[in-house]
């Protein structure tokens, strides 16, 4: 058990319980907290959640697997999304994807051997005015092309946020 993470998750759950009081509404915000703290929906995180919310891990996974952002396996330290929906595709999104695959030498949703990177195509993220658009650890990267994607892989720390957290109230 990673006590620090367990502690952090418990505190976050206490906060969420004050916001989402009815039905099972707390589940999706709580799944986000697990993923934010562990990087993915880890067994440990899900077990704590199941305990706290009086449900089972399986029931939580039944919900979680419906949603594209939730990962049930670890991703790379930097997880990159590239939008290939029509407006971005018209601006050559597939060139960016091909370049990414070439540089990283892994397929979609595989992790590089050093654990640093993984990538995924994504549907429209509402940044069609700055194509090609994507995310690195949920932070926007825009106006991508097959050249500037290289810099993102070389210096990911310049683009990725220190921490990813959805602010709720």
């Amino acid at each position: 058990m990673n006590l620090e993470k367990v502690q952090e998750l418990r505190e976050e759950l206490e906060n969420l319980k004050k916001i989402y009081k009815k039905g099972n509404s707390i589940i999706i915000p709580a799944l986000w907290r697990v993923q934010e703290i562990y990087g993915y929906l880890s067994d440990e995180g899900l077990e704590i959640l199941a305990n706290e919310l009086n449900t089972t891990k399986e029931k939580l996974l039944q919900v979680a697997t419906f949603y594209h952002f939730f990962h049930t396996k670890p991703t790379g330290k930097y997880h990159i999304y590239i939008c290939t929906n029509v407006s971005c595709m018209l601006n050559f999104a597939y060139e960016v994807v091909d370049e990414l695959r070439n540089i990283l030498k892994v397929n979609e949703n595989e992790v590089t051997p050093d654990g640093m990177f993984s990538w995924e195509e994504i549907e429209c993220i509402g940044l069609c005015d700055q194509p090609v658009a994507g995310f690195i650890n949920m932070k926007r990267i825009t106006n991508l092309n097959k050249d500037n994607i290289k810099d993102i892989i070389e210096n990911p720390q310049n683009y990725a946020p220190e921490k990813t957290k959805i602010e709720l109230i």
Partner: protein
Amino acid sequence: MELVEKRLILSYTDDEGSITIENYIKKGGYKALRKALEMRPEEIIEEVKKSGLRGRGGAGFPTGQKWSFVPNDGNEHYLVINADEGEPGTFKDREILEKAPHLLIEGAIISAYAIKANEGFIYLRAEYMDAFKILKDAIIEAYNNSLLGKNILGSNFSFDLHLYPGAGAYICGEETALLNSLEGKRGIPRLKPPFPAIKGLYGKPTVVNNVETIANIPIIINNGGDWYKKLGTEKSTGTKIFTISGAVKEPKVCEFELGKITFRQLIEYAGGIREGSKLVGVIPGGLSAPILINDEIDIPATYEDCSLKNTMLGSGAVIVIDDKIPLAKIIRRSIQFFAFESCGWCTPCRDGLPWATRILRKIEVGNGRREDLDTLYEICNYIKGKTFCALGEGAQWILRVYIEKFGEKILTQG
């Protein structure tokens, strides 16, 4: 002729925007709320009905009418704001959420007062990570100024507003799937009726409205329904925010009086088609809207004109298509989107769309035959009218129109 925008909503995003409450109040913010609290809820609904405002989320249902379906039962009611903005090509709500959060909050409070809801949720797609912080800060400001919470501005109306995070699922923009998601479940649509206005969130009467719809409410209350109705056409009143993207020089978000601008003019307004390519067509209202070609793009961008041309204004997302990318690839990518986002509940959509995508892939790599188009058309017939929600229906609709308008060109273009 110079094209002049009519920026009712977007004026709040101009300059430094109205992210802080000070800026919003400087731009006239929260006056409408004061006025609304002096009115009876029924009077507000009447004013919104008079305005002719139609929902801006895609379906275009009259907002005032929707509100009047909520029973006067003294029970718990909910307001849910649909900020899922998943329709490809759409980024209008993003502008409001990130640059004019208080306009949305003011609209939410007035709407909640009108439908007698004491609690509301903004269902916000996780893709808009920055908007969570902006909205949260704005909501806290509103609480600190007695605009949210108990006894708003000293009245006997109380209202709490929460943010709820999506987690990546286009179908959760469909209002009943959204409600399931908001209840912490898989985002599968519900059978209608009962409609949410009768049985919605936690089984209670609920109004679900799009962000842009709600942002119009303070403007309507400030100026009156009759004033708003004078803008636009008889069936498409007011202004509409358009987002123009794809093969244009300057993709952008803009707001025009409805009926005053055609799709061709919208392309011009976005700097025209990019260098060295030819226009193939325009998707007028997000990826679920069938394509317009040739002189069809000279129609005014209104609900009724789109409907006459067998398409829809939808979310107002104008996607401009040129010949730099092969048509078969664009069609394949579009149908692949719907196949990927299908919730899996009903067979025609769950099975039919991946099947169509496979055939389109074959065509895309140059192995398509005439018979493949027939098979695609058959798949459309097999989906049409047999799906549980509009996702599958919309997908077959756009595919059908591509086949009807381009025929064998799909096999050869590119």
